[in-house]
Each structure stands twice: as structure tokens, then as C-alpha cells.
Symmetry: C2
């Protein structure tokens, strides 16, 4: 049974004649006859009484319900893939905690307003986890800190971040090696890009086996840093969000380590859904580095 046959059958019922259906579908009458006959032989039932206008038999009536639904779904599906089609369905996003807290609320609110039919699912995790999820088709796109994620993934920069060292007390300068040796760090679990920065920072200063506490929650990290438990490395923009609630002091990291770009990881553009398409279009261009303000370096 071909969708084409159902489409023709439906047209015959709607127009009331084989010839009229042929004209409407821009084909010839003999073709209409052939399709209807094929359906009738496949189903083993007379579907139409050849009169003027055509009479739909009980069996034909049964098929008609299916024909209408199938053809309609078919047309919908095609429309959904035509460029400019209204996006529909779920958009499954992933994000690092820090990006989710700072950048996504505005983005997702605007997206949801603009495309009411789109239902957004957001999952947070480390860059490593999220990239793997995109690769495995479990996420449509993810905000991660990465410069390379294999051939299969397309990375598009969206946010510039400056990483800062966060502490409970003012840091006039980078602590000396001796102090770093006995200072614990607070970070997300393995896979977080910023954690890697901590490790690089300390390795640069020849601090072996640093003590790193793994927290699963951004709030917990910030809270504990503020309470004097240790230091953390976070984007400046994230720290700003917590200044109301916590007493925090920051020190910018050197540009080589501290200037990071948040990218969106997706499969190749050819595999995007309509919803992902409009989402990617809604993303901002990342500001050039010199324009990224290093806010209060309190």
C-alpha cells in the first residue's frame, strides 16, 4: 500500500470522480484507476462504486479513515522538514552548571516565547558527559568548555568567559606556592573543563597532588568557598551572580589559562531538526576578547 495510492483514493472520494481526482493531482485518469484497483486487490474489497458521483462502499469508508490520517501525517512530516517550517517537539539541551545559571535563562525564555510549540529539556553535567551525550544522540546540543570534540561534533563559540580565582578573603595577587600547597580547591567532578584549568594552574606552579574536593552543585561550591573552605576557579560572570548572596573575592587568572570560550556542541548541521535550527540561530555571536569586560576584580 503506497501513500500515493491513499492520496489518490482520498482525492477520488473528495472530488467524486476518477477524472476529477486525476486532474487535481496532476496525473492521468488511467493512473487513478490503476491505483484504486491496486488498493482493491491488495485489500480484497471493493472500495468504490463507479457511479457519478462515486459512491464509497462500507469497506471504502473504513479505508478512508486511515487514508486521511496517513496522508495528513505524511504532509505534516514533509512540512516539518521544509525550510521555514514551524519547529515542534522537544529540544534537548545540555549545559554546564555555570552557563546554565548565567546565560541560559534569558536565551531559553526568549526561545520559548518565540516558538511556543517547542518544548525545551535542559540537563546539566560536565563538558565531557555532555559531549558524549550529544554524540550518542541523547542531546540535541550542549554548552560546553571544549576546543575539540572529535570529527563528528560541530562546535560553535557563543560566550567568552574570564576565569577567576574565587576566595572568601581579598586576594591581592596569586597566592604563593607554599600557600597553594595547603589550600584545598573546590570543583565539579571529573569532566568539568574548569577543573582541568585548576589542575593546569597548579601544575604550572609545581604544586603536586592538589587537594580537590568534588562537589556536584555550583551553589555548594560557592557557598563553601565563601565560608573559607578553599578556593575555586569559576567564570567571572558566574561569580557576579552570587555576590548578593555571598561574600566573595576574585582574582583574574592569566589570559592563557583564564580566557575560555563556551561553545555549543552539536552533530553536523545537516542533521539538525527544525527546532535545533531555530535555536542555533537564536544564539549570540561571541563578543571579541577585548570587549569582554573583566568586571570588578574585587
Amino acid at each position: 500500500m503506497l501513500i500515493r495510492s491513499l492520496e489518490i483514493f482520498r482525492a477520488v472520494v473528495d472530488t467524486g470522480s476518477f477524472s476529477a481526482a486525476a486532474e487535481r493531482l496532476h496525473t492521468v485518469q488511467s493512473n487513478v484507476t490503476a491505483h484504486v484497483k491496486k488498493l482493491e486487490s491488495e485489500l480484497g474489497a471493493h472500495l468504490l462504486e463507479r457511479r457519478s458521483p462515486v459512491v464509497v462502499t462500507p469497506a471504502g469508508r473504513q479505508l478512508l479513515g486511515y487514508a486521511r490520517r496517513i496522508v495528513e501525517l505524511h504532509d505534516d512530516a514533509l512540512a516539518r522538514f521544509r525550510p521555514g517550517g514551524e519547529p515542534l517537539g522537544e529540544l534537548r539541551l545540555g549545559s554546564m552548571e555555570t552557563t546554565a545559571a548565567v546565560h541560559l535563562p534569558g536565551l531559553l525564555t526568549a526561545l520559548s516565547r518565540r516558538w511556543p510549540q517547542l518544548s525545551v529539556h535542559l540537563r546539566t553535567g560536565t563538558s565531557g558527559e555532555l559531549i558524549e551525550a550529544v554524540r550518542a544522540g541523547q542531546l540535541d546540543a550542549a554548552f560546553v568548555a571544549a576546543e575539540d570534540a572529535g570529527d563528528e561534533l560541530a562546535l560553535r563559540p557563543v560566550f567568552r568567559e574570564r576565569l577567576v580565582l574565587v576566595s572568601a578573603r581579598p586576594l591581592p595577587a596569586m597566592p604563593a606556592r607554599a600557600e597553594l600547597l595547603r589550600t584545598p580547591f573546590l570543583a565539579f567532578r571529573q569532566g568539568c573543563g574548569y577543573r582541568r584549568t585548576i589542575e593546569l594552574l597548579l601544575a604550572e606552579r609545581r604544586v603536586p597532588a592538589p587537594r580537590i574536593h568534588e562537589f556536584g552543585s555550583l551553589d555548594a561550591i560557592v557557598g563553601c568557598v565563601s565560608a573559607g573552605m578553599g578556593l575555586a576557579v569559576l567564570p567571572a560572570s558566574t561569580v557576579e551572580q552570587y555576590r548578593q548572596r555571598f561574600e566573595l573575592h576574585t582574582l583574574p587568572l592569566p589570559a592563557a589559562l583564564g580566557d575560555v570560550t563556551t561553545v555549543v556542541a552539536t552533530l553536523s548541521a545537516a542533521s539538525w531538526s527544525q527546532g535545533l535550527e531555530v535555536f542555533m540561530e537564536s544564539l549570540p555571536e561571541p563578543a571579541p576578547w577585548d570587549a569582554a569586560p573583566a568586571r570588578r576584580a574585587g
Copy 2:
């Protein structure tokens, strides 16, 4: 876009591989590849990432929803036409008032119990109207009094009826011509088979231009006959139903006129829906004439 392609696409997603899908659908792997590629080129999007197991892209995910629904509808449609399939949908029946009152309650109750998915629509009317409705595809089947209804309709006898003359007072014998001349008759509007019998009965007795009151309701006819307004011709079985409520007396008509068969009119059996099929199977064989009891000829 072919249903076959959607079926193959779905199988690939479900099995996680092109080869496995080919095996499941009893075809070859290159054919699976060709179908998926065709879909991808038609829709202008990558649907699957060729890995092990296959990864569904966001665009593929979108199509998958449609594919599942369309293939499912397709399978349902085929199942519905396969002999022995569960009947579903509406069964649109027509019936003369008299048959509806006497014979249908039992039949339809049993049918509805046996096939809960079947929704029965019943419309009453004269034999003429109903036959035309079946011809026009507005009814699946109709109980009518007719011996011939054109080539297109199949007639199947189901009930034997004996027509009786109904009156308010006992009728020892057929009234004399003089009395018939001044007696009004009560009948359904033009198109009712039994009304034709009245006309034949009176014509036989050379009663010209009989007075016939046209009523649209069986109850009204019986009630008015009982009140002495005039005579009526009805099936004996129908009159029995009203004996509790009305004082009625009956006189059997001569067999030539009075022995009538109620038939079910349908389009040819090849055009029956599954629901009509089981309905027709549920109909009784008509009793032979000699077995039809002429009940109390009170």
C-alpha cells in the same frame, strides 16, 4: 516518501543497525541503505549517524515520530481488512419502523455485546428511502420490504412476516366493499412497502381513491387505529407488541398479499466492511413459511 521507507527506517532505529533491519524485514542490507539514503535526500537532512549502534540525529528523531505513527496506521489498516480482523468503527443501519420495533432490539443488543468496538447507528424510514440511502453509500445495510432493488443491491431475506388488517373492533372477515369505501386507512408516507399492500388490497376489491392518512410514527398509527380512526395493515409480530398498550383486533390478509419477507439490502458482499460482515453473519435464517406462526388472530 514511501511507507516502506519509513518501515525500514524504523527498523534500523529499533535494531540499531542496517544489517539487522535488513534481516528483520527479509531484505538485503543494500536495500536498507538505499531507502535511508532516499529519505535523507528527500528531506534534505541526515537522519542517522552510521555507527554501531546507529545514532538517531535530531532530524531523524523528528521523522521517527511520524514514521512510527504512519507505519502503525498502515499495519492497522491492513489488519482491519484481513479476514477475522476485529470490527471497528460505525455500522450504519436502516430499518422500517415495524422491524425496528420487533426484531432489532435483540439483534443489536447481541451484536453490541459481541463486538464492543462496533458503534451502531440506526435510522428508520420507508423501504424506498432506505434502499436509496444504501445505494448512495449513506447506510451500510437496511431492513426493507422489497423483492427487487436493482442490480447494485444484494438482498438477503431475514424475516417472514404475515400482514394483518388491524382494527379497533373484532373483524370476523374482510369488510365488504361498501364498508371499505368509507373506511380510512392509516399508513406511513409514500415509499413504505406495507402501504403498497393496502393499495393493492383495495384495488383488488375495486375501491377507488382510498382515503389514506399518512403518519410518520408507528405509535401514532397504532394508537389511532385503536381509537377507531380507521384500519391499518401491519405485520402480525408488530401488532403483538402493542397488545398490552392498546385494544387491537386483527385479521390475516390472504397469503398472496399478506405473506411478505423482510430483507436486508446491502451493496455487494465484496464491498462490506469488517463490521458489516459480522453483522450479516449474525442475522438469522428466515423461517420457512409454514413455520411462521399466525399468532392470535383476535
